[in-house]
């Protein structure tokens, strides 16, 4: 019987029901050596984040390839939680990712998982929470999925919010922060505009030193009246009344994208 005081709280994240069932079986098998309690299951990274914001967990056992949000992106968002859990990847075969994890000392289990390996990994995680390499995760993720993240983390009054990148109309850099604007509202992000520009080059273009805009959000352009030092012209957007400054350098490029839309 698991003792709620000392039991290791575990969240299982995998998009395949049989794989989740198998991990439950294995956890039951190692019960004599290590007391664990499975506090929940999730079938993708986004659902896992929802679980984790509601309930603290000690260890996340997480598949890598999943729809909606993959395991590597989930790992990147964990750092934003108040009590980030330890993370152990479970994967069938992913040459590139596994090599990258080896280099970065991220723990992973190869499916089919052996009970002994699972036990060892959990004991290691219990003894010392491994620190996820925040710098290398985005690169591993991008290589794995061939694109940027699906969500961005935003801290608000002690809570972690996830902003879907697909809903962001533009990013704007102010003195200290980068804000992301969706149709509904603005979010303060802890990101650098240059990194965002690089990661989401498919979707966003730079309009100005301090502005990235989603290509499909562009509705039209206006030349600035007179000699405005800040902007050569203004970009109009779909769905929101905001006007964004466009620099002289980006004017031609920006207009060519609006024509295609």
């Amino acid at each position: 019987m698991s003792n709620p005081e000392t039991a290791l709280r575990i969240l299982i994240v995998d998009d395949e029901p049989p794989a989740r069932a198998r991990l439950r079986e294995l956890l039951a098998d190692i019960e004599p050596s290590l007391t664990t309690v499975v506090v929940g299951e999730a079938d993708n990274g986004l659902a896992a984040m929802e679980r984790l914001t509601e309930q603290p967990v000690d260890v996340v056992l997480c598949d890598i390839r999943m729809p909606r949000m993959d395991g590597v992106e989930l790992a990147g968002h964990l750092g934003g939680l108040e009590n980030p859990p330890a993370l152990i990847f479970t994967t069938a075969y992913d040459n590139y990712a596994v090599q990258a994890f080896d280099l970065n000392a991220i723990d992973y289990l190869l499916k089919p998982v052996r009970a002994q390996r699972l036990l060892a990994a959990l004991q290691k995680a219990k003894a010392a929470r491994p620190i996820l390499p925040a710098e290398t995760l985005p690169a591993i993720g991008r290589e794995l999925r061939g694109g940027g993240r699906t969500h961005l983390s935003c801290h608000e009054r002690g809570r972690l919010l996830l902003v879907p990148v697909a809903e962001v109309l533009y990013f704007k850099a102010d003195l200290k922060y980068v804000t992301a604007r969706t149709k509904e509202r603005e979010f303060l992000l802890d990101e650098a505009l240059t990194h965002l520009e690089e990661e989401f080059a498919e979707r966003f273009i730079r309009l100005h030193r301090s502005v990235l805009v989603a290509k499909d959000a562009l509705a039209g352009f206006e030349r600035a009246a007179g000699d405005d030092a800040e902007a050569y012209g203004w970009a109009l957007l779909r769905g929101v009344p905001d006007k964004l400054p466009v620099s002289r350098r980006q004017w031609g490029l920006a207009k060519s994208f609006a024509k295609g839309a």
Binding site: D15, E25, P112
Partner: protein, 343 residues
């Protein structure tokens, strides 16, 4: 026996009934005629009329010869290589000579001394050049080379699939041992197919059965997310096709089309026969914005190359990225167990 060995690439003569061979002959001989016309023409302006005039001489015996060779393909293959080559060159000379005589008899050309011999020599020489080309080609695509390439191209079931399937089976063993047994049996069949001799063509019925087994295994793993629609009525199931054509494409459809979607989707497989061609179509959900098309490329390029090795120009493979679906279409000649009788 319908297999890749049926095309005796060891023989110096090509398959005269193959579209690719015929096309190469037509292009080669006409290229020679154009070159000859350029040599004969006094000026560049006279080149094209010169070629047209020459074509009138070249094409009729060329077509007649190709018909003869197509009819006599199997007989020629039975002869030793050099003798067969000599026979073909001789036949070309004969056809050219006969045509010269016919033309002059009809009054279409003026008779020159020994004109028929000159035509025969030219015809034989041009044919000799083409035979030399086919001999070199046969060497380049020698069975050893072709088989090595086929072996390298085949047996590409993703390791990802094997390990995930084994994991699924492990999860079933305690709760549902019967299903676990069935799954292991299917897995064994799939790998037997992947590891067997790839030179033999297999029946479409076998390929479809294998595809079903593969998708059943994936269904165990993905559950409701994977839906499959087969359209197999009116399919000539005894058609012989290269082994493991369907499975890699189905695997692609699942890997890139279904696994990425939280709600999954439907993989559609359809077959149709039109005339002597078999059409296979496999589609999976994929948005143009996604990585769908790019991810498919490796397996598609692989199968395209295998089709070329088996059928030369007679098979086609095309891919279409639609608004919501990614589709692979294959057209290949219907070859049943017995070679079609010549009517």
């Amino acid at each position: 026996m319908a297999s890749i060995r049926q095309i005796p690439s060891t023989h110096l003569l090509p398959d005269w009934r193959n579209l690719g061979t015929v096309l190469r002959v037509l292009l080669g001989i006409n290229a020679m005629a154009m070159a000859a016309a350029l040599v004969r023409a006094g000026s560049l302006a006279a080149w094209f009329p010169g070629y047209v005039e020459m074509a009138a001489w070249v094409e009729p015996p060329l077509f007649a010869l190709l018909c003869l060779l197509a009819a006599g393909r199997d007989l020629l293959w039975r002869l030793p290589g050099r003798a067969a080559q000599a026979l073909v060159a001789g036949a070309a000379g004969l056809v050219a000579g006969v045509q010269y005589d016919a033309w002059t008899w009809l009054g279409l050309a003026e008779r020159a001394p020994l004109g028929a011999w000159r035509a025969a020599l030219l015809g034989a020489a041009a044919t000799g050049a083409m035979l030399g080309y086919f001999e070199l080609r046969a060497r380049a695509f020698s069975p050893a080379v072709a088989e090595a390439r086929l072996a390298a191209l085949n047996a590409r079931i993703r390791p990802h699939f094997l390990f995930n399937s084994l994991n699924t089976v492990l999860s079933l063993i305690r709760a549902e041992p019967k299903r676990a047994e069935a799954a292991l049996e299917s897995l064994a069949d799939l790998f037997r197919a992947a590891l067997r001799d790839h030179r033999e063509l297999v029946s479409l019925a076998d390929e479809i059965a294998l595809g079903r087994q593969y998708l059943d295994l994936e269904k165990l793993r993905l559950g409701e997310r994977l839906r499959v629609e087969w359209q197999v009525d009116e399919v000539p199931v005894d058609t012989r096709i290269p082994p493991l054509m369907l499975q890699p494409l189905l695997e692609n459809a699942v890997y890139h089309g279904i696994e990425k979607e939280p709600e999954g989707g439907t993989v559609r497989i359809g077959f149709a026969r039109r005339g002597d061609e078999l059409f296979i179509e496999i589609s999976n959900p994929a948005s143009p914005a996604g990585q769908g098309a790019a991810g498919h490329q490796m397996a598609v390029a692989n199968i395209r190359e295998r089709l070329a090795l088996y059928y030369d120009l007679e098979a086609r493979l095309e891919t279409v990225q639609g608004a919501a679906n990614y589709t692979v279409r294959i057209a290949l000649p219907c070859r049943t167990r017995k070679p079609p009788s010549v009517s």
